[in-house]
Amino acid sequence: MFDAKDSGNQEAQRSARYTNGSSHRAKTNEHPPFAKEYSPSFVYKAEEADTTARKKASVSLASAVDRAVSETWEGAGQASMAPMPVLDFASGRAYAQREEPVVAVELRGVTKRYGSLVAVDQLDLAIPIGEIFGMLGPNGAGKTTTIQMLCGLLKPDEGEIWVQGSCLSSSPDARRHIGVCPQQLVLWEKMTPLEQLVFLASAYDIPEKIAHPRALSMLKALGLWEKRDTLAKYLSGGMKRRLNLLMALIHEPSILVLDEPEAGLDPQSRVLVREYVRAWVREGQRTVILTSHNMDEVERLADRVAVMDRGQLLSLDTPEQLKRQHQQGDLLEIEIADAAQPHLEEALFVLHQIASDVRWEGTIVSMRMDSLVEHLSLVLGVFRRFKIAIQAVRTRPSTLEDAFISLTGRALRDE
């Protein structure tokens, strides 16, 4: 945690007044001063941008960072009464030069081209410390390129990437802050889990006397203790996935990048991995960046979600906010007894007046509507009026996937 007494700058002194500020904030219902200060910088960036989508993204980014930092501050205040972190978003670079940044990763106007293809287009993104950040997007959206750039494996053509207060282009060592758990298994098949972890730690210059007990404790935590001396090629798929995750964490990074972390895991392993990741974030000043095609997984884990497409950020907010902003209503499915109903088309015409996205496939009539509970009796009344027998009624609340499809469309994408 940043120590305000050591900073000596104005913001630090001002924020130090809020060291015990949770009660103060509760009374005034205000954001701490730093939150007000950094918001305009993002609004300013949004004004520069051409698209409405980016404006939305920037504004919601500001609110999310605001919220995340407030929570950090609140938690710190309640738990240990530690000094407030200081943010100076107004001057863009200022926080990055501080000793204890509060933003884990920031991308500023990052662009990456492959020939004529713009894989990532002027991307601005800030991910605060302590957040589980989800990245969604169809194939070719630019997620992987973005992740590779922020891991330091690709150089952006334009823009800057800051990791824990260090610019990656000028301080490649900042990559040490990042641990990457790729979707595909990246293991040394002819080494045991223990050997792999200790070897990888040595690549980070961690002495074996430290790496060995650390590896053992990690293996225990993810249920691989029994298999610590078994060659990786003999491990089950789920075990390999868990080991894949541990490989990303052996050097104790502060930022963990997870690419489809739950792919190929059985339900028990999924729960174990999810809890392990959550606990890992809670342990300290840690951040998770998560990319996945599994909306449920992202919805369950992520504090905020960025939706990307064609190299651009389309939307950025909490899963709940995204669903709210881009919802097309809850889904109602009605199964009718017989598809050959004489008045079905008339009924569908009426339903179009009270619901959206009305579809009829075989014996299933589906539609979307807000306030499903309020309108359900009305819909059922339409069926009754046209003497259409109902077999079953199913409802499904709006999901993150609905928001995702709403943002990116239904068209299939190439890789």
Binding site: C151, G152, L153, L154, K155, P172, D173, R175, R176, I178, G179, V180, P182, Q184, V186, L187, W188, E189, K190, M191, E195, F199, L200, S202, A203, Y204, D205, P207, L231, M247, H251
Partner: protein
């Protein structure tokens, strides 16, 4: 610490890949064994002798056949048996061809064992066919009435002509022709009872005359065992690329130098073990080094190190282990054929450095290793005698290693 970790990891992985390990360590000793089985240390040259105008056995057989005696000459197998007959009958002993066969068969190698396996043949065409098939190294054609001609040679203007026929592209021909030339001169001297006015004596450098054909192949096989490391080293490095583990190591800021040197050292250890096993196998089968064996092993180890740079260059261009395997064939053949490891090749001079002529093939590490091994194993040279060659291999090792690391960094580890 990183270097040691990579080295240890690489050794572990090699150890746990029994087939790969067996191939790396066992190929050259196995080939030594095969060569020994095929050549057995002393392989006599097969020499055919054809005497023009000598009565054919066919005529005798035909006569016997017409008299109602059983004959097997109608079958092709029987005629083949005749053509390859190696025995000399009492009648033949008095003929020039028979006497020549007897003389040639009596010649011995310096370490014992027959130098030639000579036999009389009946048909010239068939003898030439055997030469074409390399079933024989040379054919001596004795003219009609050779002994009589020798007796009256001084009186007649026309000298009898002995011909040594052979396939000039057959490496055995060159060796056997020299020996045959001397043997024929001796034959003529004995037949005419005229001693040579001068004595021509062969003299071997060091104990090169003591080398068997099998022993001559051993240095080449040693070079092969070392050059073969290109495969295992290139495939080991490319495995990291193909499996994506290189990405993990990239994130850790592990340098290309540490990674490649760690892998290279583990491969050098394997290469040195392979050289030791090859020597061990050769020694069991009768190979004797004229010089100190440890110098030859040192040459092998240094050459292994120098080969690593080539493997790294291959790995820089390969994305998969299969690609690495395929690409490795090119430098393998280049290094084997153009270094003189298989057979000596003419030098392509480029210039003189420090009083030494530098040729195009001097840029191939095994060129110097072959010379060094030859000096040690055949001529009994010590380390001091091969300092230049070992130094040249080390310089080339550094050069290729530098190029390999730079290329690998550029193509596989650089942040683009």
């Amino acid at each position: 610490m990183r270097l040691w970790s990579v080295f240890r990891k690489s050794i572990r992985e090699q150890w746990r890949e029994p087939w790969g390990l067996a191939l790396t360590l066992g190929t050259a000793p196995f080939f030594v064994l095969l060569y020994w089985l095929f050549f057995g240390g002393t392989t006599p040259f097969v020499v055919l002798v054809f005497e023009e105008g000598r009565p054919s056995l066919k005529a005798d057989t035909a006569a016997k056949s017409s008299a109602g005696m059983p004959s097997k000459t109608n079958s092709p197998a029987a005629s083949k048996t005749k053509a390859t007959a190696t025995t000399v009958s009492k009648e033949e002993e008095v003929s020039a061809g028979g006497q020549l066969v007897k003389l040639l068969s009596s010649l011995k190698r310096p370490r014992g064992g027959a130098l030639m396996k000579a036999s009389l043949v009946e048909g010239l065409a068939e003898a030439k066919q055997r030469l074409t098939r390399r079933q024989a190294a040379a054919l001596v054609v004795v003219p009609r009435g050779f002994l009589q001609a020798l007796a009256g040679a001084e009186a007649t203007a026309k000298k009898p002509k002995l011909r040594i026929v052979g396939d000039f592209t057959d490496p055995q021909y060159a060796s056997v022709a020299v020996v045959l030339n001397a043997a024929l001169q001796r034959f003529v001297q004995e037949a005419t009872n005229t001693p040579m006015p001068v004595e021509v004596a062969k003299e071997a450098i060091a104990r090169s005359d003591q080398r068997t054909e099998f022993e001559n192949y051993v240095p080449g096989l040693l070079i092969l065992s070392v050059v073969m490391l290109i495969f295992s080293a290139a495939m080991t490095i490319t495995y990291e690329v193909e499996m994506g583990t290189l990405r993990r190591l990239q994130l850790s800021n592990l340098s290309a130098f540490s990674l490649l040197l760690g892998i290279a050292l583990s491969q050098v250890l394997l290469g040195t073990l392979s050289v030791l096993l090859t020597f061990g196998m050769a020694a069991i089968l009768g190979f004797r080094s004229q010089g100190p064996l440890w110098v030859a092993i040192l040459v092998g180890a240094v050459t292994s190190l120098s080969i690593m740079g080539v493997a790294m260059i291959v790995a820089s261009f390969a994305r998969t282990v299969t690609e690495a395997f395929l690409l490795s064939n090119f430098p393998l053949f280049l290094l084997m054929f153009f270094s003189g490891a298989i057979r000596p090749i003419p030098k392509v001079p480029l210039g003189v450095i420090g009083g030494r002529e530098i040729g195009l093939y001097d840029f191939l590490q095994p060129t110097h290793a072959v010379v060094a091994l030859n000096k040690v194993l055949t001529f009994g040279a010590s380390l001091r005698d091969v300092v230049f060659e070992v130094g040249a291999v080390l310089v080339l090792a550094a050069l290729y290693f530098g190029v390999g690391v730079a290329l690998f960094h550029l193509r596989r580890m650089r942040i683009a």
